[in-house]
């Protein structure tokens, strides 16, 4: 059985976590978080895939002529993409302020909140 698409999603999540945990630059860390998130896109789309299926759009394919892939996961992924983009924007805005207030974007040098 073909596990590759799912394993790919799992790999993306873990490799994103690794990058996030070992990051030396907060901008890079925001990117790493986006990698983690892309695992959800891959998983959702893989779950909805159908062999030989086409896009679930019937403006040029008459309904029932061909099988279509699951439209629900595509809608979920679209929602997820928007969520991811907005979170990324907000986190980057916070990184901009960190760069100003701390004079660094290296998480190893942020030592204000401890204990």
């Amino acid at each position: 059985m073909n596990l590759l698409p799912f394993l790919c999603a799992g790999w993306l999540f873990l490799v994103g976590c690794y990058a996030l945990a070992t990051s030396r630059n907060l901008i890079h860390a925001v990117g790493a978080l986006a990698v983690c998130q892309s695992s959800t896109y891959v998983l959702l789309l893989a779950v909805g895939y159908r062999s030989g299926g086409t896009a679930p759009v019937f403006s040029d394919v008459p309904p029932g002529a061909r099988p279509v892939v699951d439209p629900v996961v595509q809608a979920l992924t679209l929602t997820d993409v928007v969520v991811g983009a907005t979170v990324t924007a907000l986190l980057l805005a916070l990184v901009v302020q960190i760069a100003k207030r701390h004079g660094t974007v290296d998480p190893d040098e942020l030592r204000e909140l401890r204990g």
Binding site: M1, N2, L3, L4, P5, F6, L7, G10, F13, L14, C17, Y18, A21, T22, A46, V47, G48, Y49, R50, S51, A55, P56, V57, F58, S59, P63, P67, V68, V69, D70, P71, V72, V73, Q74, A75, L76, L78, T79, V82, V83, T86, V87, A89, L90, L92, A93, L94, V96, Q97, K100, R101, G103
Partner: protein, 247 residues
């Protein structure tokens, strides 16, 4: 934690999660299988509502409440970014420098600006028919405006896109989505109910509420992206620390 300990914790955690993943993936239905009950129902429901693009039907009709939350996230993130990137007390604004642009870049950008704008508007308007919709088209429209920054400079962009107007349009898109939802209630049906005439399948005026919600989202996304980018561009180009301030 020092780096070694962190890597060990992370390594053990990743190994554990990887095992969880593999265990779960082995029990998933076959990749590419034909059993998609919700998908099949969604296709039937979309065709019943005369909406050719099933993804749009899911986003703007069947699960339009998700999209309500989604556009609230977008709205909130833009508001949050405006708050976080506001001009701090120890900052001042300077007029942006005029920029020198290579003539070829300028020509290309000026030609592609109206084209991109048109494509964006087309994608918004045809969301119920073909791939695309308010989210995708809205972003294309916002991109078109920013081609002016590439073609001329930031001062030109600032003249073309007054941020307060776009902030207002952002709120307008949000309010429009909510009012279209409330209209369902006032028509005696549910919130966000698609009570409009459904039109002829595969024409511009099909899908009832779908094209209207699509347009509201298109307005909101385009203006939200403009406001959002303006905050970051201001940070890079206009805001500088006041003299004598310790940073």
């Amino acid at each position: 934690m020092n780096k070694t300990v962190r890597l060990w914790v992370l390594g053990v955690g990743c190994a554990g999660v990887a095992l969880l993943f593999v265990g779960a993936f082995r029990r998933l239905p076959e990749f590419g299988g034909s059993h998609h009950p919700y998908g099949a129902r969604a296709v039937a429901a979309a065709l019943h509502r005369h909406t050719a693009n099933v993804v749009s039907s899911v986003n703007f009709d069947q699960r339009s409440f998700d999209t309500l939350g989604e556009q609230a996230i977008l709205f909130g993130a833009v508001l949050g970014t405006v708050v976080v990137l506001r001009q701090a007390r120890d900052e001042r604004r300077v007029p942006p420098e005029p920029a020198v642009v290579a003539p070829t870049v300028r020509r290309y950008a000026l030609v592609s600006l109206p084209l991109t704008l048109l494509v964006g508007l087309y994608v918004v308007a045809h969301g119920q028919l073909s791939p695309g919709g308010g989210f995708q088209g809205g972003l294309v429209v916002a991109t078109a405006l920013h081609l002016l920054y590439v073609a001329v400079d930031y001062r030109a962009l600032e003249r073309l896109r007054p941020v307060p107007v776009f902030a207002l349009a952002d709120a307008f898109g949000d309010v429009a989505y909510l009012l279209l939802g409330l209209a369902g209630l006032f028509a005696g049906a549910s919130f966000l109910a698609n009570v409009l005439p459904l039109g002829t399948f595969n024409t511009l005026a099909s899908g009832g509420l779908v094209p209207l919600l699509n347009a509201a989202i298109g307005i909101e996304v385009a203006s939200a992206a403009v406001v959002l980018l303006a905050q970051f561009l201001d940070q890079a180009l206009e805001l500088v620390p006041r003299e004598g301030e310790h940073r």
